[in-house]
Subunit: 140 residues, 2 copies
């Protein structure tokens, strides 16, 4: 079943993040991905920027203690699937500071040659627009 | 064609935002929507919170001069569709201040009883995590 296949793929992907395994993390993305990522810019296309973003995340973290997908929802129709969840990242930064962050994650998958990969993703925290602040301390 | 139908629906929706027409804006959302919205909280379900969010947006704006969908991408498979775009909102706040904001928008549509409605959306600006800032001044 496509649903179970995708669910397994994203759980493996979360494990790859905890393991700081860049190649395994990158294997989930299609070459043509369009990303609205946590950090600027607004939008980018292709895996070069995605690889840079994950490389920076892994470099910033001495240890990724946890990366867990909560309230995971998977919807499939034919060769298209939409996944969303609240992702909880915990770890120790390179400088020794503890980091603990919940992000919202939406990912659009396409099946091609029997394999499901992400063609669009959106990762964010809410914004407190009037104050110009990113809401980094929220949890469900 | 579903693709053209959805494209027309979202263009009408953008016009409804410019017109500050709350009911027309709300008509795009399914009752069971799960939203990762621009403002806190992280996640909410149902149209009550969505209605509150739009009501606050319209109350904050004396005039919505523009609401435009750029780099619009629509993918359809059966009864599921994914739309993403960079949405440009311009206006005058109730206090007289000019507002100009680009947000990233991802929306997941389902077709039910012949009508396409949003069952999941994700609206955000990027975050400058280390500085705790929301990136409110970006443009494509």
């Amino acid at each position: 079943m496509a649903r179970e296949q995708i669910q397994r793929r994203v759980e493996e992907w979360a494990k790859a993040i905890r393991d700081k395994d860049l190649e395994a993390v990158m294997s989930l993305y299609a070459p043509e991905i369009v990303s609205f990522d946590l950090d600027p810019p607004l939008r980018y296309a292709g895996t070069v920027e995605k690889r840079r973003a994950w490389r920076e995340f892994f470099a910033a973290h001495a240890v990724v203690a946890a990366y867990e997908l909560h309230e995971l929802d998977v919807t499939v129709s034919g060769d298209l699937a939409v996944v969303h969840s609240l992702n909880h990242a915990q770890g120790t930064l390179a400088g020794g500071k503890v980091s603990d962050l919940w992000v919202r994650w939406t990912a659009c998958f396409r099946q091609s040659a029997g394999s499901w990969r992400i063609v669009h993703d959106h990762v964010s925290v809410p914004a407190e627009v009037a104050q110009g602040r990113a809401a980094l301390n929220l949890h469900p």
